[in-house]
Symmetry: C2
Subunit: 370 residues, 2 copies
């Protein structure tokens, strides 16, 4: 079994589980820090381990463009290239092709686009995208999909879904043909369908027919209002089998994570911990601290009292970090990134512990007051 | 005794020594990484210790502007503020007032200038500059001086020297009046005088009359040709007492350091290790590697084989670092900074060991081929 549900919360959809990958077993619910370009921004793999990170994310589109699949393959794969020995999930780059690349042309065969970096032209098929991720040596691969934007017309979302479903089937075929079975790599499916309930249902059913060891919810957290986001999520989840892991792509805030875990989501990724760090915004149990703000200029407490992250336990103060952020010093971003990643990882640990004790809803109330 | 010469090389002016400061004894010749804004760019104090850094530099001008002397004083001084427990030398900011600030007006009383950050107006006397450094808690303080640019007219250099000498005297008086004698803090003198031999002699003599526990050579490495730089340095050094430490401000390349050590210089600071890291340039025993360059794209060796820096001993490859630098990822700058600082610190250790064995010139030939 790839995935085992170890405990189902008695009062909600929240559950704990174990996800077996080629680079170790991941305890779920899990947060995956984003390492788009073969690095979680500003941090070393050693620091990620110290933060108790279980699994990180990479991005096939970005790594295909730079440094290129051949270089990573020659390096012995992404794990060796970047020095991270834990599991890696790679996003297909579907989202990036549609959000970053220009002049794209989508056909049944694949996507043609110009690089957002140098304007160079590329054509990638779903088969290529699987090949790239096999070269990267990803533990969990994602198929090429079209991430439907918000808002999108129904006709557009329906037509888009045809490609996404077709590509999912071809991705699975390529994966089965090309992977070494003993590797234990996993290819997930991605449920699209925009905000249309029937299309989400159709998307889920088409993927289930192909059969994947895990299912991701895509095309959420793309600008839609919060109520729609969670309506779509809850609706789509009911069509997914309880015995498979569910991954909500791109979520989110601590509140988003609590809401989704409550619905039975197991996996999360979000740039928030590192992106917020760049502005000096730190996550704490009592909310977000915007360390740039004047009140912290003479605040010689750590970001969060009692926190065991590198920055807090070594007594880096809010005043010092504020100074570093305000003077553009990279150490400031590093320290807040370390704190924020640790915060997210610890949040998930607390969530898992609470679920085990059937106290998930109590923790949710305590942390996000909902 | 503040400074003890422990060995004089038999074949050159090079010597080893021990410099006693309030935060520990420094083995000389020593390289001081530059931490202008209360951080050696991208690195933590823990990493600096791991690199075997003995002493770092801060800058009174920068820290006076941001975060301000009061905040650092309230934090318990610069050591506590930034979390570095080793010795700190702070530059007065004379160089920065004259290179960064605008609309400056120099009078006998002090300097009036506009901040290079927000244009705010400030007036600082030599007495203020000492007070700021006492607030910072520096182990070694530098007096306000005028760093004469290159080229400079003789009349300009002569007039400038009047202020520098006068300010040195007032700095010493303020230091004696305001410091707590048991602190063991040190105020050095700075020899200016441009490229004019008689002015350099006069500068040195005037400082000797005031009497400092160490002497810095200022106004070198400010754009003058190499031959002039070392002529000025060698000329000025002859007027300085052998039993006091000599500090060549802003030097330099490994070659610069070898040349200056040969003349009897004991202390160095330079932004080169961290500044070069930002462009992905790494120092090695066989010269500088420009890691951005294409040949490194598939080079899976560490920056330098056998190097024990964090980056090399953890097998971060040239190919990976090149990718990080080319994609603007901060981890690349971090890794090269760690390597470069370690390279400089180890270079000084090798220099000290060679001097002890009277083999300094052999080492110089081996490393810089001169």
């Amino acid at each position: 079994m790839t995935f085992t549900v170890t405990h189902q919360d008695k009062a909600s959809g929240a559950r704990t589980g174990l996800l077996k990958t080629a680079h170790g077993v991941v305890k779920t619910p899990v947060f995956m820090p984003v390492g788009t370009q073969a690095t979680v921004k500003t941090l070393t793999p050693q620091e990620l381990s110290d933060c108790k990170t279980q699994i990180i994310l990479g991005n096939a589109y970005h790594l295909y463009l730079r440094p290129g699949r051949e270089i990573i393959r020659e390096a012995g794969g992404l794990h060796k290239f970047m020095g991270w020995s834990g599991p890696i999930l790679t996003d297909s780059g579907g989202f990036q092709v549609f959000s970053l690349a220009v002049l794209r042309k989508i056909t049944q065969k694949g996507v043609e686009f110009q690089s957002h970096i140098d304007g160079s032209r590329h054509f990638l098929t779903p088969e290529d995208i699987i090949g790239i991720q096999l070269d990267l040596g990803s533990d969990i691969l994602m198929p090429l999909d079209e991430c439907v934007p918000y808002p999108a017309e129904r006709d557009y979302a329906r037509e888009s879904l045809k490609f996404t479903s077709l590509w999912a089937r071809r991705s699975k075929e390529t994966f089965l043909n090309r992977q070494n079975k003993s590797d234990g790599r996993l290819l997930f499916g991605i449920v699209q369908g925009g905000t249309y309930p029937d299309l989400r249902k159709q998307a889920a059913e088409e993927l289930l027919e192909i059969d994947f060891p895990g299912y991701a919810l895509g095309g959420i957290s793309v600008g839609e209002p919060d109520n729609i986001k969670f309506e779509v999520l809850e609706h789509a989840l009911q069509f997914l089998p309880k015995e498979k892991p569910r991954y909500a792509m791109g979520l989110g805030t601590p509140l988003d994570i609590f809401k989704a875990v409550e619905m039975g989501v197991d996996m999360f990724d979000c740039v928030m911990p590192t992106r917020h760090a760049r502005n000096g915004s730190a996550f704490t149990k009592s909310g977000k601290l915007v360390l740039r703000n004047a009140p912290y200029a003479r605040d010689f407490k750590p970001i969060e009292e009692g926190c065991r992250c590198f920055a807090c336990k070594n007594n880096y103060t809010r005043a010092y970090i504020r100074h570093l952020i305000n003077t553009g010093e990279i150490l400031g971003v590093r320290l807040v990134s370390l704190h924020n990643v640790y915060f997210y990882v610890m949040l998930m640990q607390r969530i898992r512990e609470a679920i085990q004790k059937n106290k998930f809803l109590e923790l949710k109330k305590e942390v996000v007051n909902e």
